[in-house]
């Protein structure tokens, strides 16, 4: 009798645990976007530094609009 009860309990536990719903929450941060932006910013700065002589030759043009200052 006791063995039967124990077997039933084990069986019930197995059934309950196998059917238990699990929620998988993915908490990963969107790292690749940050990395790409960071690389672009660093590359832009390298290019601006390297070509800084252009502004002195070219009458200090605005880098965003291409317009020259009066």
């Amino acid at each position: 009798m006791k063995r039967r009860t124990a077997a039933s309990l084990i069986g019930a536990t197995l059934v309950l645990t196998s059917c238990a719903p699990t929620v998988d929450v993915n908490l990963k941060t969107p790292e690749p976007i940050h990395i790409t932006m960071d690389v672009n910013i660093r590359v832009d700065k390298e290019l601006d530094d390297f070509f800084s002589f252009e502004d002195t030759i070219d009458g200090k043009k605005d880098a965003k609009t291409g317009e020259g200052s009066p």
Binding site: D44, F50, F53, E54, T65, G66
Partner: protein
């Protein structure tokens, strides 16, 4: 004792090699910058004449193939693109990215800096005059 001396010497050798390589890179960048600077006025004049424009790939190109018959135009375009390719490779190594990424960033930068009336070529190969 012998092992730690060997390790110390190896570390010094590696540091020396890295330092030498970095100095060489800086020297090459300075030489490249001088080359760009020497050519800049000619390139600017060709852009303002509408013979040469910036491309979406970070290179310069003749707006019409016929303009390349002019030896000066061809020389400026070829040398500029050769130097740019080397610059993009150096900066890509430095920033741990690809030369294509650096080239694209420079294309965006040059399109923004272009004066009104200068030619810009999009990724489909179409030339357009910068309007504003």
């Amino acid at each position: 004792m012998k092992t730690s001396l060997t390790r110390c010497l190896t570390a010094l050798a590696v540091a020396g090699l890295l330092g030498a390589s970095s100095a060489q890179g800086a020297d090459r960048l300075a030489a490249l910058q001088a080359s760009f600077k020497a050519r800049y006025a000619d390139l600017l004049a060709l852009k303002r004449d509408g013979k040469v424009g910036e491309t979406a790939e970070g290179t310069v190109a003749a707006v019409r193939a016929a303009y390349l018959k002019d030896a000066k135009v061809k020389a400026v375009v070829d040398t500029e693109n050769k130097d740019r390719a080397e610059l993009y490779a150096i900066l890509a190594r430095k920033e741990k990215t690809t030369a294509e990424v650096v080239a694209k960033r420079n294309a965006v930068r040059n399109a923004q800096k272009a004066s009104v009336g200068e030619y810009l070529r999009d990724s489909k190969g179409n030339w357009k005059k910068k309007a504003k």
